[in-house]
């Protein structure tokens, strides 16, 4: 990830703040800060924090800070830590900074929900569904949710329409709920107000005024077509002014034909000036027409009628979802906000936080949404509030953020609460020359929110002009794609120039565009021209070919009869089978399975073999492991790593594995669950971010949203002619207006009720404003120079900037269209990856260094079994042993603690049925009373003595039941006496405690078995070889009928002794 040093770093030198930074940081009460790009707000915030602690006397625990991203929270905390440290704060204060509430708004909301789960009515131990999980969760529950809707509503509104609307609503349930609650009562008034305002603006615009004077002044000959238009215009204008039939008359103006007529019918110059005048009038009329002509109609009445059933059905769905979430104990981000707000409705809760947080710092305030703003409002009523934001950089409107909130709160602080309103306008990023140009460009573009900046730095090594604009020459018949290629090549040329002639390092250059779509083209062209460049991420991981290959793999594995994934897999780099081979193998009857067809065919033998291995591995492995196994069987990753953009592809491939690991942590690591999850992500069009790719010394390509907060010396802002084709949804929601939708009109066509149009127009307007701010953010990423490029003249981006470019005297360079350059370049072979310094491919074999004494006899029986039990820690699949083992345990306990009664024994064992307790007590009694054991029943024996003793390479550990003066003893409650098996264990005890003799007390048989010095010496020899092998990590199985017969791993052991095989031989 490219990382320009944070703008603020430089505003931070030696803590010397600019006067405005200082003023904001040391404000006595609340303060609203408008921080232009690169003006060092983080330093200001850190100093502000310090101010609250030193001057305000607050503990860091009482100062809360809210940031937009987790990274920003980390950075702010780090900066505060440094600032506080430098100012010599005591250690205890510094330590408290670590625990201070410095977080994102979601983390803050989470805390509130956890603190007052009871007030919120949610479980205390909820988990959070993130932005990719939440849509999938809803999708999975949707069917059940819809079945809760009244059938009468379904019949009324139609199932598919309703289902589609409800599904859409769930993306932003709380806004929709609010909007639906608005009903339709205010529509009439709203439409009147909006259309009235538009009309009023029209009547006051310069075009109107000019037309008013000009067209009455000049007259053409009757019958001339332009004269007709003039007359029509006068008539229409008069009637509009008289508020008669406004809608129709406006329409007349929008349809004026101003290019007709003959000059001879007019006084000299008259035709031109009337023509010009009518044309601008027409343009102005067109601009307001949509809004000014809105009138509520019968379609609106029908829309209004449907609101109620729609609201009722959405309520039912929402209730179901909420209940389900509580059952599963999950909440998503929207829920967190909603419940936090619910908590803060409560006076006790508010007081709770008012006591705790006395000062608040809120960063990026322009990106908060209304509900977040409300939360902050409730939390900060009595606190010193510092908000930092920049209306010009509000670019999250599409996610529900509302830049207006910043303006309102700013107003509240400065006017109502006697706080300060401080603009930060000294930028530490761009140099004077560039800043001056930017100021000129943005003044007309941003209008009243424009803020002129000053530069801290005066010099640059790059030549003027600092803002350059270039558009591709328009050629008839050239496809947009070709224009794009030419634009891309132009960018590549400029980058080469910057790098070679001016010495700008590649990493100091970025291409940032509105959407990620064109970036791939630039990337390919740059790479083909030998310029290192990296697509930092963007787009959805699931759209990558790598993700699709894996999807095919997993889909096939869960259902081998699914032919398309199988064929996809066969053609992919996993197996790379040719279409001719596929052709020759195609099943001859439709519906026959491909998986059957490819069995036994030579061309597919490798594929079949590998896929069979994978199918067999399914039940024991998570998706991640399955994909890793597939990779290791086929070398898939090696192939993609060596294709063009191999590192990008590898990152995507690994990003997917990371996703799978995340699913696994959530208990959804199985292949079927994964496939469904991927499918649902696709269905819900959830964007799964692609992993960041490390840039190194390369040009960065990314979207403007990703570029926020970063900076480079040179920034390219391309693709300015491109129009995003937003599909307009059938149902529109506006939190202030309400909900509306297209409905089927008379003619079977979908028609748009007036209220729908109004919402649509409002939405467009907001989008256009956001577009301006996006361009502001993009252009202000540059330290030294900016290039604006477009595939043709005009187009939305360029149109927005045009007045500014004109004002700054920036003219477009025309990029000549050259057909030969318009085709996508071939990329050639990428460079081979560098050769490694270390090549250690073979797996290591490592044995344990410590084993328990009981492990030796297991190893002696079968090293594989030893592996399962002591290396792998597998409990095995033993049946019926539980009771015997429990008796053993209880007996040991009874003997250790001298227990004689069942009640006390149960108390200590925590479990045990009467029979087992009785048996154990019986065994203990035998040991205490039977004459056979008298020899070892000696006072002063130590019980339960642990040891760890090195035997060559291995340490053996254990706990001896009894250690006497010259012997060790172990109790056994086994039904069979088996000293042969137990000899290693007793040997280890004897050697560990350096005793001459070892005993086993077989309590079920009343036998005391002795191992004398000679026995032990004999065992010394046989044990040695086992110890060596264990240390080397040798675990080869030694299957035999008797060993495998009693082995608890036989079901899962592939080396097990099979009687059947024996017979066949």
């Amino acid at each position: 990830m490219p990382k320009g040093p944070e703008a603020g770093e430089k505003g931070d030198k030696g803590m010397r703040l600019t006067p405005s930074q200082k003023k904001a940081a040391e404000a006595p009460g609340s303060v609203a800060v408008t921080a232009g790009a690169g003006t060092g707000k983080t330093s200001m915030l850190a100093t502000r924090y310090l101010h609250h602690v030193t001057v305000g006397g607050l503990s860091p625990l009482s100062v809360a800070a809210v940031t937009f991203t987790e990274k920003a929270a980390d950075e702010l905390r780090a900066r505060i830590r440094k600032t506080m440290h430098r100012s010599g704060q005591p250690d205890s204060t510094l330590a408290e900074v670590e625990a201070a509430q410095i977080s994102t708004i979601h983390a803050l909301a989470t805390r509130i929900c956890r603190d007052f789960y009871d007030l919120a009515g949610i479980p205390a131990d909820f988990t959070i569904l993130d932005q990719t999980e939440s849509p999938v969760w809803m999708w999975e529950k949707f069917e059940e949710a819809v079945s809760n809707v009244d059938t009468s509503i379904i019949d009324d509104l139609g199932f598919s329409w309703l289902a589609a609307a409800l599904r859409e609503f769930l993306n932003d349930p709380y806004t929709v709920q609010k909007a639906l609650g608005l009903g339709s009562d205010n529509w009439e008034a709203l439409i009147k107000k909006e259309s009235g305002a538009a009309l009023e603006a029209f009547l006051n615009c310069t075009e109107w005024a000019e037309a008013h004077t000009t067209i009455r002044g000049i007259q053409g000959r009757t019958g001339d077509r332009l004269e007709d238009a003039r007359a029509a215009a006068i008539n229409a204008m008069d009637r509009i002014q008289a508020a008669e039939n406004v809608e129709t008359e406006l329409e007349v103006l929008t349809k004026l034909s101003a290019h007709l007529g003959q000059a001879s019918n007019w006084p000299p110059g008259g035709k031109e000036s009337i023509g010009r005048c009518l044309r601008s009038l027409k343009r102005a009329a067109n601009e307001v027409y949509d809004l000014a002509s809105l009138v509520l109609g019968p379609d609106d009445a029908e829309t209004a009628r449907r609101i109620e059933p729609l609201r009722a059905s959405f309520d039912q769905v929402r209730k179901f979802m909420a209940a389900e979430k509580l059952r599963e104990r999950v909440l998503d981000f929207a829920d967190l906000e909603h419940y936090a707000l619910k908590v803060l409705d409560n006076e006790t809760a508010r007081q709770h936080y008012a006591l705790r947080w006395r000062a608040f710092l809120v960063d990026e305030f322009q990106d908060t949404n209304p509900i977040q703003a409300e939360i902050l409002e409730l939390l900060t009523r009595d606190a010193a509030l510092t908000i930092v934001g920049d209306e010009k950089q509000a670019i999250y409107g599409f996610r529900g953020a509302d830049a207006g909130v910043f303006t309102r709160v700013r107003h509240r602080i400065s006017i109502e609460s006697d706080g300060l309103d401080v603009p930060l306008d000294r930028t530490f990023r761009a140099h004077t020359g560039l800043v001056e140009q930017m100021n000129r460009v943005f003044e007309p573009v941003l209008g009243e929110i424009h803020q002129a900046l000053e530069a801290e730095r005066t010099e640059t090594t790059l030549p003027a002009p600092y803002i350059r604009s270039a558009v591709v020459e328009e050629v008839k018949g050239a496809l947009p794609r070709h224009q794009q290629m030419i634009e891309a090549r132009y960018i590549a040329d400029q980058i080469r120039w910057l790098h070679e002639e001016l010495g700008v390092p590649f990493r100091e250059i970025a291409i940032i565009s509105r959407t990620w779509r064109p970036l791939d083209d630039y990337l390919r062209v740059l790479s083909a021209s030998g310029i290192p460049a990296v697509h930092a991420g963007g787009g959805s991981l699931l759209d990558t070919r790598e993700a699709k290959d894996i999807y095919a793999l997993l889909s096939f594995l869960v259902d081998p009869t699914d032919d398309i994934p199988l064929a996809a897999l066969l053609r992919s780099p996993f197996f790379a089978v040719s279409d001719r081979d596929l052709y020759e193998t195609a099943p001859s009857v439709a519906g026959a399975s491909w998986w059957n067809a490819i069995q036994g065919r030579a061309a597919f033998s490798q594929a079949v073999e590998s896929l069979n291995i994978l199918i067999n591995a399914l039940s024991a492995n998570s998706s991640e492991r399955i994909v890793a196994l597939a990779n290791s069987l086929t070398g898939y990753e090696a192939v993609i790593a060596n294709l063009p953009f191999g590192s990008r592809r590898t990152a995507d491939f690994r990003g997917l594995l990371e996703l799978f690991r995340k699913l696994e942590r959530r208990g959804r690591g199985d292949v079927f669950g994964t496939v469904r999850y991927m499918r649902e992500l696709i269905e819900t069009e959830t964007v799964l971010p692609r992993p960041h790719l490390d840039v190194g010394d390369a040009v960065s390509l990314m979207t403007i949203h990703m570029a926020k907060g970063l900076e480079w010396r040179v920034v390219f802002v391309p693709d300015l002619a491109n129009k995003e084709n937003f599909s307009i949804p059938q149902v529109l929601v506006d939190p202030e207006i309400g909900v509306s939708f297209q409905i089927e009109g008379e003619g079977y066509e979908m028609t748009e009720p007036a209220i729908y149009k109004l919402i649509k127009l409002k939405k467009r307007e907001k989008e256009r404003d956001e577009e301006r701010r996006l361009l502001y953010v993009a252009i202000t990423r540059a330290k030294d120079m900016v290039f604006l490029t477009a595939t043709k003249e005009g187009g939305p981006g360029m149109d927005i900037l045009r007045p500014g470019l004109d004002a700054a005297g920036i003219n477009d360079e025309i990029i000549p269209f050259d057909k030969t350059k318009a085709i996508a370049p071939d990329l050639g072979e990428p460079e081979p990856l560098p050769l490694p310094e270390q090549l250690n491919t073979a797996p290591l074999s490592v044995g344990p260094s410590t084993i328990p004494a009981t492990a030796l006899s297991v190893y002696a029986k079968c090293p594989a079994r030893f592996y399962w039990q002591y290396v792998e820690g597998h409990p095995g699949l033993g049946e019926g042993h539980a009771s015997a083992m429990l008796i053993g345990e209880l007996t040991h306990l009874a003997l250790e603690l001298d227990i004689n009664d069942a009640a006390s024994l149960r108390q200590h064992a925590g479990k045990g049925a009467e029979t087992e307790l009785a048996r154990a007590l019986g065994f203990a009694r035998s040991f205490r009373e039977m004459p056979e054991f008298a020899a070892v029943r000696i006072n002063g024996n130590e019980k339960e003595v642990s040891f760890a003793k090195a035997f060559g390479p291995l340490t053996i550990i254990g706990i001896a039941d009894v250690v006497g003066s010259d012997f060790v003893l172990d109790y056994k409650t086994d039904a069979e006496m088996d000293p042969e098996e137990h000899r290693f264990q007793i040997w280890a005890y004897a050697r560990a405690f350096d005793k001459k003799r070892g005993y086993i007390a077989y309590l079920a048989h009343n036998v005391l078995y002795e191992f004398g010095p000679d026995d032990l010496a004999e065992i010394d020899v046989s044990v040695q070889i086992h110890l060596d092998n264990i240390a080397k990590g040798l675990y080869d199985a030694t299957p035999s009928e008797s060993v495998c017969g009693q082995c608890v791993y036989r079901q899962i052991c592939k080396f097990r002794f099979e009687v059947k095989v024996q017979k066949e031989e």
């Binding site: 819809v146 699914d562 290791s632 669950g673 990856l833 490694p836 270390q838 250690n840 490592v846």
Partner: protein, 882 residues
């Protein structure tokens, strides 16, 4: 009696002769090469001597819940108990006076304190104490003194110090390191004072880092705490993400082992094990490097836990489609017979009966509204048996451990819960608790490089240490507030002598734990920082600043597995002794050609085998398809790759078309001789609709799904019939689903015309469309889909053959959804069609079915073969389109 307190900065372990060595963890005991003995073990022995025991976890929780619901009636006990956890543990662990907590705490804390008090009393009465109270209880039990050497308890904790003071006998020694000028050690200093006042003798053998025998860790720790710098600053590596980081450190560790280090002498320390354990496990498996991860995970994070959750969800949601499918098709699930999943996808069963019709083995799964816990758990066990879950989990150690743990918990709860009938919801909430509370080892391998948390490495020592994940908020970890008792309230309570850990203390401990981690490195300590964790960017840990180092990217290219070797060497002329790699090289060649500008080849649809167009039967849609994208036709018709359609909620597009056609055919066929065809069709609509519904060939979705949408479709078809374009004034219906078969231009063409009308303007073919747009045609010479195939073919070829003498009108597409005619035939259409057929023949002659859609990729919009054809920007480079 003499007891010693060793406050050396860098204490070297030297156990007193004959002393019992006490360490906090096994790793520390192993470093000292002594058997593992711990304070809790001593305490437990004390406890037993007094006839008491620690309450088993589940039972304790059960009692706690009962107590809680008795004291705070009406509260959500499960939430209460989980939010109570921390404060309960701290109160009992450190012997906080519950009565003053009741008196001084906020109302909420006070409530909880009352629960704690009652719970404790209840346990004692039954002869138990809570696990967290163990040391504190033992400290107050006047234990018999023992000769102890206590090492690795580097951070003083109140209950430990109290217990040690109570049990340490003559000559015992406690090692409690203190860095004199470092504030982080304030707590240790306070407790050292306290012990001194209890007659412990101070011992201080502080060897400074000047000492040539000092370990690397000691140098670093000294730098870290005092800012003194000795020798070369250590190096720290920056990686782009945690996988790269894990690869980097495991490669280095593998190299060390190959250079002679022992795996056991290497350790990795990660603060966040949830995050790292899975990655380390995966990469270690790839590298063939044994690792030992002692981390534990909740049952909910195992595959088995996921399965149990699905079982619960399926019950709770009445066997609705998605969740039940996932339960059945889970590796531990009951599965469906071969082909069953495809069938389910086609019909979308969404309740128990519908699933049984889809051959799911649910006959025995029935449950009442309420029943005792044991019967519910019996139901779950039945599923386990039906699905053979135990044997399936046995293939993976973690999974069978999870299975065992879950079953043990069920058995315990069977007894604890008694015979009270409970609802499914209550039962499922108990299971959720088991899944969330019970833990199993993430990985139980006992051999290899150890992965530690800072807490578990205290007192241990390794030759080589890798400290990873050094990012802000990861290590040091972000400090979490406790929701019940936050730092603010703790401050207030401190004033009354009620000591809960305060914010500063928690922060200091985070720092100290890094310090002690450093001390565990004997010969080398490596640091690393991942720039991105789970897609979010991180900044480097502040610890780097204190060590005076900045993490840099590593330039070392290492290859530590076959998989990596393949990637790195694939393009080099090195021989890879590996068949997979040899294959991969070929796959790379093939895929590179696809990606390059070179023309389509046999891997891109050009099979080079002539197929005879004359020997096939063509339909209008086939002709369209092949002329839109040869590969699509090839996949569909030659390879016969049929998509498995999955019914969504609502009818899918294709099925809707078939259904509507059928309904109209039935309705119009009954109405066509009536004087007013439209009216008659409307009249017959309902019965036609019902008949089509029953048609087994159509296979509608399962009833519960279909029921929701039935009326909507009926309404839509009715509207389509009512629209004026449906049938023009004065027209009569000549044919329905009229079959034709002609030889034309050497091709045999067959099809069914939806309807043939005799209109006043002449004979027309009508083709119903369920879309609202004109169907996409075939590719023209500019690469756009503008050539209509169907209508020109129907009218010029089919109608001509069917009605040789009829006068032809303009045939149309009729949109059923729009109730409108979409397009009628235009002059010139037919000529273009004829050219198209010539081109098609040529392509088939040379076996060319290239992946070559139209320029706007309109052909791809509804294409089922995108997964297969690998289309993408690569096609632009093929240079065949202008």
């Amino acid at each position: 009696m003499a007891r010693f307190l060793n406050i050396s900065r860098f204490p070297a372990p030297s156990p007193t002769q004959d002393a019992l060595v006490i360490t906090p963890h096994r790793a520390a005991a192993a470093a000292l090469k002594v058997p593992y003995n711990s304070l809790p073990r001593l305490a437990r022995a004390e406890l037993r001597k007094n006839g008491l025991e620690v309450i088993p976890a589940l039972e304790g929780r059960h009692i706690l819940k009962q107590t809680a619901s008795r004291i705070l009636t009406g509260a959500d006990t499960s939430s209460l108990v989980s939010s109570l956890g921390h404060i309960l543990a701290t109160t009992l662990r450190t012997g906080i006076d519950v009565d003053s907590l009741i008196e001084r705490g906020s109302p909420r804390v006070s409530d909880l304190a009352r629960i704690i008090k009652a719970y404790r009393a209840e346990l004692l009465q039954k002869g138990f104490i809570d696990r967290s109270e163990l040391l504190w209880w033992a400290a107050n039990s006047r234990p018999e003194p023992l000769l102890l050497y206590i090492y690795g308890h580097s951070r003083a904790r109140k209950e430990e110090i109290f217990f040690i003071n109570a049990i340490a006998g003559d000559n015992s020694e406690l090692v409690l390191p203190i860095q004199p000028d470092d504030d982080a050690f304030a707590v240790n200093r306070e407790w050292a004072e306290w012990l001194r006042s209890r007659k412990w003798t101070l011992k201080n053998f502080s060897e400074g880092p000047e000492d040539p025998h000092s370990s690397e860790g000691q140098y670093l720790a000294s730098t870290f705490s005092g800012g003194l710098h000795f020798g070369q600053p250590p190096s720290a590596t920056k990686y782009s993400n945690i996988e790269a980081e894990t690869r980097g450190i495991l490669a280095s560790a593998k190299q060390r082992i190959l250079d002679g280090a022992k795996a056991q002498d290497i350790a990795i320390v990660a603060r966040d094990q949830d995050l790292y354990a899975p990655v380390i496990e995966a990469i270690a498996a790839e590298y063939g490097v044994p690792v030992r991860i002692q981390h534990k995970v909740k049952l909910a994070s195992t595959m088995f836990g996921g399965f149990v959750q699905l079982v619960m969800d399926a019950f709770a949601l009445d066997m609705s489609y998605e969740v039940t499918a996932r339960m059945l098709m889970h590796p531990y699930g009951m599965g469906l017979p071969p082909g069953g999943w495809a069938m389910a996808r086609g019909r979308r069963p969404s309740n128990r009966d519908e699933w049984i019709l889809t051959s799911a083995p649910f006959e025995n799964l029935i449950w009442p509204e309420r029943q005792p816990f044991a019967l519910w758990s019996g139901l779950v066990r039945t599923i386990f048996q039906l699905a053979d879950v135990r044997n399936k989990t046995a293939l993976h150690t973690r999974e069978i451990l999870a299975f065992n743990a879950f079953n043990e918990a069920l058995t315990e709860l069977d007894q604890l819960e008694g015979g009270r009938p409970i609802t499914l919801k209550e039962f499922s909430s108990s299971l959720t608790e088991i899944l969330g509370e019970s833990m199993v080892p993430f990985h139980s391998n006992a051999v290899g490089i150890e992965l530690h948390e800072p807490n578990t490495i205290l007192g241990a020592a390794y030759d080589h240490l890798y400290i990873i994940g050094l990012a802000e908020s990861v290590f040091p970890a972000a400090i979490k507030e406790n929701p019940v008792l936050d730092f603010f309230e703790r401050k207030t309570l401190t004033k009354y002598g009620i000591d809960f850990e305060e914010a500063a203390e928690v922060a200091r401990w985070e720092t100290l734990s890094f310090y002690f981690t450093l001390l565990a490195g004997r010969k080398s300590v490596s640091f690393s920082f991942p720039e991105v964790i789970e897609n979010s960017e991180r900044i480097a840990s502040p610890f780097f600043d204190r060590l005076g180092i900045t993490p840099e990217r590593s330039g070392v290219v290492s290859v530590s597995s076959r998989e990596e070797a393949r990637s790195v060497l694939l393009r080099h002329d090195r021989l890879l002794d590996d068949n997979v790699a040899i294959g991969a090289r070929e796959h790379l060649r093939i895929e590179s050609l696809r990606e390059s500008a070179s023309p389509h080849d046999e891997y891109d649809g050009v099979i080079g085998v002539r197929l005879d167009p004359a020997s096939r039967t063509w339909s209008a849609s086939q002709l369209t398809t092949i002329s839109q994208c040869g590969f699509r036709w090839f996949a569909q018709r030659v390879l016969r790759l049929a998509p498995v359609n999955e019914v969504d909620l609502g009818m899918d597009y294709g099925k809707r078309g078939i259904f509507y056609h059928r309904v109209l055919e039935l309705a119009v066929s009954r109405a066509k001789d009536a004087p007013d065809i439209r009216a008659a069709t409307l009249q017959h609509l309902e019965e036609a609709f019902a008949e089509a519904e029953a048609d087994p060939e159509i296979e509608l979705p399962m009833l519960s799904n279909w029921q929701l949408q039935r009326s909507e479709h009926l309404r839509a078809i009715r509207k389509a019939i009512e629209a004026p374009d449906f049938i023009v004034e004065g027209a009569s219906v000549l044919g329905l689903e009229q079959k034709f078969e002609v030889d034309w231009k050497g091709l045999r063409i067959m099809g069914y015309i939806d309807r043939v009308d005799q209109t006043p303007a002449g004979l027309i073919a009508i083709d119903y469309k369920t879309s609202s747009a004109v169907p996409k045609g075939a590719k023209d010479e500019t690469g756009r889909l503008s050539i209509d195939v169907q209508i020109p073919l129907y009218s010029n070829v089919a109608l001509r053959q069917l009605y040789p003498d009829g006068k032809l009108g303009n045939s149309i597409y009729y949109s059923l959804t729009k109730g409108k005619k979409l397009r009628s035939e235009k002059p010139g259409d037919f000529e273009k069609l004829e050219e198209l057929i010539d081109k098609l023949k040529l392509a088939m002659e040379s076996g060319n079915y290239a992946v070559d859609p139209d320029i706007d990729e309109g052909a791809c919009t509804y294409c089922e073969y995108e997964l297969l054809c690998r289309k993408g920007p690569r096609l632009e480079r093929k240079g065949i389109k202008e």
